[in-house]
Amino acid sequence: MILVFGVWLRWLPVAGYVPLDVGLWPNARSLLMPSVSLGLVQSALIASITRSSMLDVLREQYILASRAKGLAESAVVYKHALKNAIIPTLTVIGIPFAILVGGAVVIETVFNIPGLGRLIISAVLRRDYPVIQGVVLVIAVTYTLINLAVDLVYLTLDPRIRYQ
C-alpha cells in the first residue's frame, strides 16, 4: 500500500501523523492507510463468519415463512436474517476489536504514528522499564474493558443471553 499509494501514485503520505487541529482532511489522509491496513485483515475474518452464519440462518423455517407471506427480499435479509446472524459475528468482532489495540504496534511503527505502540517499542529499545510497565498496564486494562463492553452488547442484541 505504501509503495502503490504513497510512492508510485503519491496520493497519500508515506508515513507520519497530522494532528486534527491542523485540519480534518490532512488528518484523515494521514490516518487512511494505517486504518485500512489494520482493518482489512480483520474484515476478511468478519466477512467469512458472517457469510457462514447467514447461510445457516437463511435455511431456517421463519425465513421461508417470511418469503412465503411476500416480504421484500431486503426486509427478509436485513430485518429477519441479519439480526439473528449477527450474534456469532459479534463474538468474533469483539476479538479483533481488542486485538487492534495491540496490533497497532506494528502499524504505528510502519507509519511512524506517535501512539502507544511506538511508545512501548521505543521504551523497550531504551530499556525504560517503568514506561513498559505503564503502557502494558494501560493496554491490558483497555483490552479487558473492550471485551467487557462487547459482552454487554450481546445482552442488548440477544435478550436470550443472560449472565449469572
Binding site: I2, L3, V7, V14, V41, A44, L45, S48, I49, S52, L55, I95, P96, A98, I99, V101, G102, G103, V105, V106, T109, V110, I120, I121, A123, V124, L125, R127, Y129, I132, V135, V136, I139, A140, Y143, T144
Partner: protein
C-alpha cells in the same frame, strides 16, 4: 490441498536452505549494493550487498524453527494445564484464573514485554511466543477434558482402580487431541507472524540473523529505491501464512465435519 502444498514447500525450503540459498546470507557484495533482481541475485541485494534470495530462504528456516518450537512449547504447557484444570476441579479455578491473566494482554504486547526483560535472541522469541499461546491450548484442552471425564469409559477405568495418571494419559488425552492439533496449525501461523513482527520492530531475533522480519525492517528504509527488499520477504510471509491457514482449515474439516465452511484462520496476536 493448496495449503498442504505451500506448507510442504516451506518445510522443504527450510530443510535445504543452504543448498537452495546459493549465497551465504551474510556475504557482502559491496559492488552490487541495492542491485535489482538479476541472474546472479534472483531477488536483488540489500543496502550492504547481501543477497535477498539467500536471506529470505534462510529466513524461512528460522520461521519454521520458531513456529515448530512455539507450537511444541504451547502444547506442552497448554496440555498439562488443561488436563490438570479439567480433571482436578479444585485446581481448575486457580489455573484458569492464571490463564485468564495471561489472556488479558494482547499477544504481541505480552511478547514485547517479555522480550524487553529477556533480551533479543531466537530462544527468547520462542519462549515469549510460546507463553503467549499456552492459555489458548489450555482452554481448548480443559473444555474437552470436562466433557471426557464424565464419559462412561473414564468412570469404568476409575471404578477398576486405574491410577489418575494412566486415565489421563491413556483415556483422556488421546480423545481431546484433535481440536488441539487443528489449533496447532493456527498457532504455528501466528508464531511465524509474531516472530516476523517482533524482528521487524527490532525486539525479536538479533539483526545479524536473517529472518523475514529483519529483512523487511531493513528494506523499509529503501522502499523507494529498492522495493524488492520489502516485496519478496512480504510475499514469503504471505505464502507461508496462507498455506498454514488453508492447511488448518482443511485439517479441521477433516477432523470435525460439522465445522465445514466456517473459516477461522490466524488472528494477529
Amino acid at each position: 490441498m493448496l495449503g498442504a502444498v505451500l506448507v510442504v514447500l516451506n518445510v522443504l525450503v527450510a530443510m535445504f536452505a543452504p543448498a537452495i540459498g546459493r549465497w551465504e546470507p551474510q556475504r557482502l557484495d559491496v559492488q552490487a549494493r541495492l542491485a535489482p533482481p538479476t541472474a546472479s541475485h534472483w531477488m536483488g541485494t540489500d543496502d550492504v550487498g547481501r543477497d535477498v534470495w539467500s536471506r529470505v530462504i534462510h529466513g524461512t528456516r528460522l520461521s519454521m524453527i520458531v513456529g515448530g518450537a512455539v507450537v511444541a512449547l504451547s502444547f506442552v504447557g497448554g496440555i498439562v494445564f488443561g488436563l490438570l484444570g479439567g480433571y482436578y476441579r479444585p485446581l481448575d479455578n486457580v489455573l484458569m484464573r492464571i490463564m485468564d491473566g495471561f489472556m488479558a494482554f494482547p499477544g504481541i504486547i505480552l511478547a514485547i514485554a517479555m522480550m524487553a526483560s529477556l533480551g533479543p535472541s531466537v530462544v527468547n522469541v520462542i519462549v515469549a511466543l510460546g507463553i503467549v499461546y499456552v492459555p489458548r491450548v489450555a482452554r481448548i484442552v480443559r473444555g474437552s477434558v470436562l466433557v471426557i471425564r464424565e464419559t462412561p469409559y473414564v468412570e469404568a477405568a476409575l471404578a477398576l482402580g486405574v491410577p489418575d495418571l494412566i486415565v489421563l494419559g491413556r483415556h483422556v488425552l488421546p480423545n481431546c487431541l484433535s481440536p488441539v492439533i487443528v489449533q496447532g496449525t493456527f498457532i504455528f501461523a501466528a508464531a511465524v507472524l509474531g516472530e516476523a513482527a517482533l524482528s521487524f520492530l527490532g525486539v525479536g531475533v538479533p539483526p545479524q540473523i536473517p529472518s523475514w522480519g529483519n529483512v523487511l525492517a531493513e528494506g523499509r528504509l529503501y522502499l523507494q529505491q529498492a522495493p524488492w527488499l520489502t516485496l519478496f520477504p512480504g510475499a514469503a510471509i504471505m505464502g507461508c501464512i496462507l498455506g498454514l491457514n488453508l492447511f488448518g482449515d482443511g485439517l479441521r474439516d477433516l477432523l470435525d465435519p460439522k465445522m465445514q465452511g466456517i473459516a477461522t484462520g490466524v488472528r494477529p496476536s
